[in-house]
């Protein structure tokens, strides 16, 4: 049956969205005639702020870009700057950076799974309403999030906008006693994290198989965080330096944030893309749990992102324990650096996907130019593509309330780095 109605869904302001955003959707004759997701990202201005700043200031400045994933910004930045200065990081610093990143994954994923995504899948308008009937779920989320914050605080000095990172390593090494306490807490949380994987796999997730291209880092010996080559499910395998040869950022009229395309096509970054491309890099103990859930990766169901996040929480706990259980104070928590002129690239796996930085410095170590490509920006085109497919598959003849809720669910499923993304769609429907 052809639906002859014309539906305009306009979301003029996305409340609680960093930088502001909007969604506009028009359905005409049973087809999506227009769909535009707009996200305005103020972090882009940081590229200009960074110019003429000394390299030593960069980790603290870029940490301010995001309150949820500041470590990712710090890690991509320091790796880029270290590549300019010709130093490579290994040993204690390399391991502890990975631990710090584990903290951010745990904190960010736990927040999203329990407080942002779960209400969608359990049929509640928000986490507060959900907490009335599922207090245990909310408590688990808060506990795991707090544990992630503990790890970030351990090496970052504080969990929001941490200040412990410097080019070459860390300003401070925590004492073995502090670390031992945290390791004890991490071990205690393992059963809960494992149960989280099973719980997410048991959710009544929409069955929405789609075809899309995944992009992530890939490392020869570990699940990717700070290092690796850029690979895709379409066969791409390049050095991060060659990002521009395949990826293009472009302005679209309806958004001040740049979209990004891989060889002219939308692509996915984030936990589902990561696990789809790197499941074999997870330890056997994690892969065993995945197998027991019955879910198979690679998966084309975008809603399996929530399971991928849970898997990464479990993995991050195990990885942090592995790296910390034989912790010893280093002679020095950093490698000395000497600034020199040049350009360098860094790309790491933020909770929401690859975060690519490039800096050019003069001989005194002052930033001449900076370029930052955040994951949410890269996912924008993919989110629009997903919305079209998902809503058409869902049924455009449904009422506006149902369409809005499904649209919100689809967008939230990407955990876009727009803080508190729950329930950000205010809707106005014009019928003609």
């Amino acid at each position: 049956m052809t639906d002859s109605r014309e539906v305009h869904i306009n979301v003029p302001v996305m409340a609680r969205v960093e930088g502001g955003g909007a969604l506009a959707l028009t359905i005409r004759d049973g087809r999506i005639d227009m769909l535009k997701l707009q996200i305005f990202e103020p972090p882009r201005l940081f590229e200009k702020f960074l110019e003429e700043r000394n390299y030593e200031e960069v980790p603290d400045i870029v940490a301010r870009i995001c309150g949820i994933c500041p470590v990712a910004y710090q890690m991509s930045a320091v790796h880029a700057l270290e590549s300019v200065f010709g130093i490579s990081i290994d040993g204690w610093v390399r391991d502890m950076r990975r631990v710090l990143y584990c903290g951010e994954w745990i904190e960010s994923h736990a927040l999203h799974i329990h407080l942002l995504a779960a209400p969608d899948f359990l049929g509640f308008p928000n986490a507060i309403a959900m907490a009335e009937q599922h207090a245990d779920i909310v408590r688990r989320g808060l506990r795991l999030q707090a544990l992630g914050n503990r790890l970030m605080h351990l090496f970052g000095g504080r969990s929001v906008h941490p200040v412990g990172v410097r080019v070459g390593g860390f300003h401070h090494a925590p004492s073995p006693e502090e670390v031992a306490t945290v390791v004890h807490e991490l071990r205690a949380a393992l059963p809960e994290a494992e149960a989280l994987v099973y719980w997410t796999a048991s959710l009544d997730l929409p069955d929405d198989e789609q075809s899309f291209t995944c992009v992530a880092l890939r490392h020869p010996g570990e699940y990717p965080m700070n290092e690796g080559r850029l690979v895709s499910s379409g066969g791409l395998d390049i050095d991060i330096e060659n990002f521009d040869s395949h990826f293009a950022e472009l302005h679209v009229r309806h958004s001040t944030a740049l979209h990004a395309l891989l060889d002219g096509r939308p692509y996915l970054v984030g936990p589902l893309a990561r696990i789809n491309l790197n499941c074999d890099r997870l330890p056997e103990s994690v892969r065993r749990v995945i197998a027991a859930t019955g879910v198979r990766f690679p998966s084309g169901n975008m809603f399996h992102s929530v399971i991928a996040r849970a898997v990464e929480v479990f993995y991050a706990l195990l990885e942090a324990i592995r790296l910390l259980e034989n912790y010893a104070l280093p002679k020095r928590p950093f490698v000395p650096v000497t600034p020199r002129a040049g350009s360098g690239t860094g790309c790491t796996e933020a909770p929401r996907g690859i975060l690519w930085h490039r800096y050019t410095l003069n001989g005194e170590g002052f930033i001449q130019s900076a370029r930052i490509v955040p994951p949410t920006s890269q996912n924008q085109a993919r989110i629009e593509e997903d919305l079209r497919v998902s809503l058409e598959s869902y049924g455009l003849d449904r009422n506006e309330q149902e369409l809005r809720l499904r649209g919100e669910t689809v967008i939230r499923n990407y955990d876009p780095c727009i803080s508190c993304s729950t329930h950000f769609l205010r809707i106005r429907v014009d019928r003609q």
Binding site: G67, R139, Q145, V160
Partner: protein
């Protein structure tokens, strides 16, 4: 964990740093210094979100300090309790529903301290409003008295 915790919330910039300023003044207050750390903990938090729950965990009395926008005259000392938060028809701080949401969430999960108050200064509708030192001192005095009364009642129990 000390029985009383004071948390100044907000970003450290502009009017949003009121919580930070008040915590700093409280930390310098002669009547409170002897209580730290066994009886009293005081800290500032840059938009803590759900971390607030963990920060308050184990306390008997939690005091949150923030800028408040509730329709009163700018500079008015505002004291809200848990019921006020639940009944608030609109946001009660410049962080949107952040603090209120977290308090309601913690209430649902049973993780709120037995007593919780939000103290702040009303900012009115003028986003450029800046509190005077007198207004800040008045707020400090109110909080110090609340802590004293709480501890006195606790000692009598």
């Amino acid at each position: 964990m000390s029985p009383v915790i004071v948390i100044g919330v907000g970003s450290p910039f502009g009017i949003d740093r009121l919580g930070w300023d008040i915590v700093r003044l409280l930390q310098q207050h002669g009547a409170l210094k002897p209580l730290v750390p066994d009886t009293l903990t005081m800290e500032s938090a840059d938009r803590p979100g759900t971390r607030l729950v963990a920060m308050m965990k184990g306390a008997e009395f939690a005091i949150i300090i923030d800028v408040v926008q509730s329709g009163m005259e700018a500079g008015t000392v505002v004291q809200l309790n848990q019921d006020d938060i639940h009944n608030a028809p609109h946001q009660v701080s410049v962080h949107g529903f952040g603090v209120a949401d977290v308090i309601m969430l913690a209430d649902k999960t049973g993780d709120l301290p037995p007593r919780l108050n939000i103290f702040g200064l009303e900012m009115g509708q003028d986003t450029d409003w800046t509190p005077t030192q007198i207004q800040k001192n008045k707020l400090v005095d109110v909080i110090v008295n609340e802590i004293r009364e709480f501890l006195a009642a606790r000692a009598d129990e």
